[in-house]
């Protein structure tokens, strides 16, 4: 996941690499995701969240749709 100056930069960068652009969104949404995704890592009882638990976090910050499905089924 990279941070670009603008959407034009993303499109040009992808074109240079013959890549289809992926998902694009603003930093406010990424901050919402970043504040919860790893918030249990300093807990002594940490365990890897299950896929449904992780999917629920993505859903909660509005990252829905096929690109954000954690399983390809």
């Amino acid at each position: 996941m990279l941070l670009f100056r603008s959407e034009d930069d993303i499109l040009a960068w992808c074109e240079q690499r013959h890549m289809t652009p992926g998902a694009v969104f603003d930093l406010a949404r990424l901050w919402s995701l970043a504040t919860v995704w790893y918030d249990d890592r300093l807990n002594s009882a940490w365990r890897r969240r299950t896929i449904p638990e992780r999917q629920a976090i993505l859903d909660a910050v509005g990252l829905t749709g096929s690109f954000w499905r954690l399983t390809d089924s």
Binding site: M1, L2, L3, F4, R5, S6, E7, D9, I10, A12, W13, C14, Q16, M19, P21, G22, A23, V24, F25, D26, L27, A28, R29, L30, W31, L33, A34, T35, W37, Y38, D39, R41, L42, S44, A45, W46, R47, R48, L58, S66, F67, W68, R69, L70, T71, D72
Partner: protein, 159 residues
């Protein structure tokens, strides 16, 4: 491979979860990963024992990523043990994030004000994102996820 905790001293067992948490706290406190030798010394385990534990934390608990072909820590998400394009600073402390998501997550996890320093991969323009009291300030830039979610862990280094 045994999953039993190792006896450190009589009555004292070392669980994988303790090792994991100590590694994370080491990242928080120092900005870097402890070496296998440092971990072994802290828990009074042999190098072979700590290598087994680190391998288990990677392969079974999915808690760490080791540098390929070694027992040195590469990632304890969101922290990177090696320098990246995502420098995180708070006062005199600094860390490396694996990506812009992880870099922001470090500030959130540590619970501190600070900034992420990176650059636009296309234009090269430096970009700084600062967080103060739990909110972003003067956020510059737009985020691009190249890899769909179901492929994130297929090649975590690329993701």
């Amino acid at each position: 491979m045994s999953t039993d905790p190792v006896r450190l001293t009589p009555g004292r067992l070392v669980r994988d979860s303790e090792i994991r948490l100590w590694i994370y706290q080491h990242f928080v406190d120092t900005g870097r990963a402890p070496s296998p030798v440092e971990i072994a010394a802290h828990f009074q385990l042999t190098p072979s024992e700590i290598e087994d534990r680190l391998r288990r934390l990677q392969d079974e608990a999915d808690a760490l990523v080791l540098l390929p072909g070694s027992h040195h820590i590469w990632m304890a998400e969101p922290f990177s043990a090696v320098p990246t394009s995502f420098l995180v600073r708070s006062g005199t402390r600094q860390w490396w994030g694996n990506c812009v998501w992880d870099a922001l997550a470090i500030l959130a996890l540590v619970g501190t004000d600070g900034s992420v320093f990176t650059a636009c991969p296309h234009s090269g323009q430096p970009l700084v994102v600062s967080a103060t009291k739990g909110s972003l300030e003067g956020a510059q830039g737009i985020v691009h996820f190249a890899v769909p979610a179901h492929e994130w862990w297929r090649d975590i280094g690329f993701t």
